[in-house]
């Protein structure tokens, strides 16, 4: 490939370990569908895309739903700022993901799977198509897969076109249907009414990559890693002010302090966990754990050292949301603009505290009144940065430089 991309994997305990392509499919086809769901349940695997919904439940719902067609979709839209682990997985362990999709198709009774690949990753497309062809040659895709009578399954790749909101599962489905990528109301959920009205499971790349390992090693063994509420390992995308940025596969439950030591981060002032829509953790709270029960995350970790201005960071995030809001609902479309204006007022020293407090209330309203996760989470950085870094932001000298 003619790109100068380097995929740096610093630590890997499971996902990037040796995996024989196809072995997960073969083992799964020997098992019954119920056995697969049982192992998944025992593994306590939760969605790695951010929302953390138990994968076994999602698959069970689709398996139980009635419909002539069912679909499985691999969400490779990876648009959250600071996330790049799906890129590394797709390039370094493609068969893990594709096998996970085949197992998923078998389990829920789908005959077709889609990979929704973000437009920015178009350079991977040919590589992934080649992988799919290789699988077709080995009868890991196609009709009567591996001799399993009646199990027909194939996968196609569909490209996104530069819209962050299309990572939201119902917007993704709209996009696949050839519509504007505007999120739908939920319920109905995709597990009942998804792509073209058919029961559909949408899973993150990393979630699917865990499946073949769970099939091979057994759910209980997988659940031995991590904490009781967050089982298994997680890929973290580490970027920002540190010596060793890259992808780290770590067990859930690691504290931010431990993580910072691993990646060689010094003089750290703040860590943004979960991307732009996540929360900003100040130094005083670095003993918090990364886990669904404490600080949940899709894996984006951005590190800021003492020299960074948090207001600048916040402004960058708010510009992102203003640009990426689909504009369908008012709290998000107008709310994000107002929050950005607020940040600019602070920047120019033209704010009043009364107005800032109004904006904080607006942020709380957006969290409950927005239609989808974008508007529900976009006030997070605004609220957490203005609260935890108020000294830096509001006590700054008039030239805007914190001294």
């Amino acid at each position: 490939m003619h790109n100068d991309i380097v995929n740096t994997i610093h630590e890997s305990s499971l996902l990037f370990s040796n995996y024989e392509a196809g072995s997960g499919i073969k083992k799964a086809l020997e098992m019954g569908r119920d056995d697969i769901l049982f192992e998944l349940k025992a593994s306590k695997l939760k969605g790695r895309g951010g929302a953390g919904f138990p994968t076994s439940t999602k698959w069970m719902l689709v398996a139980a739903a009635t419909g002539a067609d069912k679909f499985i979709i691999c969400n490779a839209d990876e648009g959250e700022p600071g996330t790049f682990k799906d890129r590394v997985l797709l390039m370094n362990a493609p068969f893990l993901i594709l096998d996970g999709m085949v197992v998923g198709g078998y389990t829920v009774g789908a005959a077709h799977g889609y990979i929704y690949l973000r437009g920015e990753y178009v350079y991977m497309r040919q590589f992934l198509e080649d992988c799919l062809n290789e699988m077709r040659e080995k009868n890991l895709l196609g009709n009567n897969i591996c001799g399993k009578e009646g199990f027909n399954f194939d996968i196609s790749i569909v490209m996104g076109a530069g819209a962050y909101v299309c990572g939201e599962e119902t917007a993704l489905i709209e996009s696949l249907e050839g519509q504007r990528g505007e999120p739908r109301n939920r319920p109905p959920y995709p597990v009942n009414t998804g792509l073209c009205g058919a029961p559909t499971t949408v899973n993150n790349v990393e979630t699917l990559a865990a499946v073949p390992h769970i099939i091979l090693m057994g759910g209980e063994k997988y659940a031995e890693r991590g904490t009781s509420a967050s089982s298994g390992s997680k890929l973290f995308s580490i970027s920002g002010d540190c010596e060793k940025p890259g992808v780290y596969e770590l067990n859930w439950g690691i504290t931010i302090n431990e993580l910072l030591a691993k990646v060689g981060a010094y003089n750290t002032k703040a860590v943004q966990v979960g991307g732009a829509s996540g929360i900003c953790i100040p130094k005083s709270k670095f003993d918090r754990k990364l886990a669904y029960e404490d600080v949940a995350t899709g894996g984006s970790i951005m590190i800021f050292n003492e020299s960074r201005k948090m207001l600048h960071v916040l402004k960058n995030f708010m510009e992102f949301f203003v640009e990426e809001s689909c504009g369908q609902c008012t709290p998000c479309r107008i709310g994000n603009q107002k929050l950005l204006e607020g940040v600019e007022m602070i920047e120019k020293n033209q704010y009043t505290f009364a107005h800032i407090n109004n904006l904080k209330e607006l942020g709380e309203t957006m969290k409950v009144a927005s239609k989808c996760g974008l508007g529900q989470s976009s006030p997070n950085p605004f609220l957490s940065i203005l609260e935890d870094f108020k000294e830096e932001i509001f006590h700054a000298k008039s030239d805007g430089v914190y001294k």
């Binding site: 790109n3 790049f84 920015e120 249907e177 970027s239 940025p245 960058n316 990426e324």
Partner: protein, 157 residues
């Protein structure tokens, strides 16, 4: 567009859509195909896509206007997208932006008069561990510095 070109385009659209049984799910791949070939989706193509898929032309326009990688107005033959998200920003995006603007005499958001190049910003490219990053057409460049970025853009035709 010349009549001959129009006829060709119509044929291409029909052939492409037939692979999808003229179902609406063909719309995005079809628009991406046209965009790649013509660097934008002209009015005529929008009308033909709508006719072939049996939907209203405004539906087609609505989809084009939603996605930032689809355009109804002509853009440069080469599209440069520089990542503006915070990590690339901290790694020196502004210096690169200014160097490129000086070197090409073109501002971000603009297309050169000879239609050779369009400069744009984009949100996170997923290269945060090796920023600053940009995409030129489909190709990704990482760990840029002002000199390297300008040299890359000098090379493109």
């Amino acid at each position: 567009m010349l009549v001959l070109e129009k006829n060709n385009l119509t044929e291409e659209i029909e052939l492409f859509a037939s692979q999808y049984d003229f179902h609406r799910t063909a719309l995005m791949p079809l628009l991406e195909y046209i965009q790649e070939k013509y660097h934008h989706i002209p009015d005529f193509a929008q009308q033909e896509v709508a006719r072939v898929l049996d939907i209203h032309p405004v539906e087609v326009y609505g989809v084009i206007s939603f996605y930032s990688f689809l355009n109804d107005q002509p853009k440069g033959r080469n599209i440069v997208r520089l990542c503006r998200t915070i990590i690339c920003d901290m790694a020196g995006k502004c210096q690169i932006e200014q160097a490129i603007e000086r070197e090409l005499g073109l501002k971000f958001g603009e297309t050169s008069k000879d239609q050779k190049i369009t400069l744009e910003f984009t949100n996170c490219l997923g290269m945060c561990d090796q920023g600053p990053a940009m995409i030129v057409n489909d190709r990704v460049y990482t760990k840029l510095d002002p000199e390297k970025a300008c040299a890359i853009l000098k090379e493109i035709k």
